[in-house]
Symmetry: C2
Subunit: 316 residues, 2 copies
């Protein structure tokens, strides 16, 4: 086990409360006074999760959006957030806070509190955000998938990964870069789909790795038809519709779409939600008895790529 793996194992051993869901989920779920609270905390570090010259407003947006996405994946509506902010330099900080204000207003979320700290000169900036949500209905776990269900995903997959490649190649803007920098948490879809889902989680590290985690947590096998993975118009225009494009999309991460399993009896209701929200929802595979992730392309079995996505973001 790596150092990080050992650390996480020790940390999980501390998470004895049922609310912690053994760290095996996107968020903690806490029953308080008749309400169901959903709680999540993510950190981002300069030089690891964002770059020193990333626009501060985009960093603010992403910090907020990735946490709200965890709430959406548990069917919760946000009640507010607390932020831990490391000061950098006044101009950057001012643009960041203005951007955070716009992002909060965009999602209709309140900043409730937090902390502001100084760091030693030259230290990379470290930012944390805690999001608190309330679920009015069921809170689907990552472990809730059952054999016989279908596997679904919202929106389109792979734009953020392609946007990152465009940035690395020197492009400055475009719809896929926008999706990489300003992901959209599925706050409207989350609570509606939570009522129909067996398991649900957000796709942050890559569709394939996240599906494998869902299969593992659920004690089932899953098969994904790579040909059904939904791609956007801009991605197809930029990279074509080949199997290679689809495999890159399904392992890139940063999509912040919802991946969920559902009984086929829910299919009509799923499409009704999709229509109401004008959101693409696509059936991409099946849950079956056994274990592991299998990839198909129509009738062909497809070898799993060596890397299924990002391995490092392990606490959800």
């Amino acid at each position: 086990m790596t150092g990080e793996g050992a650390f996480l194992a020790e940390l999980r051993a501390l998470a004895t409360a049922p609310a912690a869901r053994g760290f095996g989920d996107d968020a903690a779920v806490l029953a308080v006074g008749g309400a169901t609270l959903v709680l999540t905390h993510d950190m981002i570090v300069e030089g690891v999760h964002f770059l020193r010259d990333d626009p501060p407003g985009d960093v603010a947006w992403k910090l907020l959006a990735v946490n709200l996405s965890d709430l959406a994946a548990k069917g919760a509506r946000p009640l507010g957030v607390l932020m831990g902010y490391t000061l950098r330099e006044p101009d950057w900080d001012a643009v960041f806070v203005a951007g955070m204000g716009r992002a909060l207003a965009h999602f209709g979320v309140s900043l409730l509190g937090g902390d502001t700290v100084s760091a030693p000169a030259g230290a990379p900036q470290s930012l944390g955000l805690t999001a608190i949500g309330e679920a009015a209905g069921p809170v689907p776990a990552r472990s809730g998938a059952s054999a016989g269900e279908s596997l679904w995903v919202t929106g389109t997959i792979g734009d953020a990964g392609a946007g990152l490649r465009e940035l690395q190649g020197g492009r400055r803007g475009g719809p896929m870069i926008e999706r990489y920098r300003r992901p959209t948490p599925r706050l409207e879809a989350g609570p509606r789909l939570a009522r129909l889902a067996g398991a649900m989680m957000d796709v942050s590290d890559g569709l394939l790795i996240d599906a494998r985690r869902m299969a593992e947590a659920s004690g089932t096998a899953m098969t994904i038809d790579i040909g059904h993975v939904p791609l956007s118009g801009p991605l197809i225009a930029a990279e074509g519709e080949s199997r290679a494009t689809r495999l890159a999309a399904a392992t890139a991460g940063d999509d912040y779409e919802l991946l969920f399993s559902a009984n086929d009896a829910a299919t009509q209701d799923i499409f009704a939600v999709a229509e109401e929200l004008r959101l693409n929802v696509t059936r991409i595979g099946r849950v079956s008895p056994g274990s592991g992730l299998q990839l198909r392309d129509g009738n062909d079995l497809v070898t799993l790529p060596e890397s299924l996505g990002w391995e490092h973001r392990a606490l959800g």
Copy 2:
């Protein structure tokens, strides 16, 4: 205004929800489903809030204790915590997590979730913790003091500051170093005193600076009798009982005692709580009309020291 001051002003402008209490309090207060939640998030940074060679178990303890102290100051009992952890090196991380486990068990608190991240090599470690509590009774604000009330403090003041000076002078242990490294949040006293208090907050930055903040938030003046500031036996043994010792104690910070105002009709009940919990509770001053903090020693007016405590920990 400094860069940090301007940043905090901009941040406060975002905290529009009543639950945020305008960032003018130790914690946010959120009504959810009939329950009153209290939420706080503090960060600590290596080289600023703790030193690279501090024992990892003490760093874990302090990270937890300072957040639980904010809950206690609002009369809340902890429901759980989420931690944002930056990996350092495997041995240190392992000792930290073991220490966090002991601290959680000591306070009877659950780790619900969080995030673990890597930082670039050589970066100072940055840790965040969110504590969620529930208040069964009233949640005293920092702004709740009224003229005519008395001002009280739990425990003794100044040990942590003296412990820090001992550490800087080369001592390795002792009761005051222990209080500096392992502060005790007043989790039992907080909910009981909350029912009796006008205003309440924890003393983290220095008794005098925190009292002045309470006076400002409440729109009142406060007078503290420096001769009544409670000192511990070890502090008196080490530094004597002079006015200089008391002024140093009242400006040192890191006490994590509770400072509160209360109507004199509550005096009997306050002493009953003190007796029940075998906790020192001392009347140190008065709340009066006007503004500002005044210091007395019996009948003598005492000039306020130039620094009343730590100025930098501004978001509570």
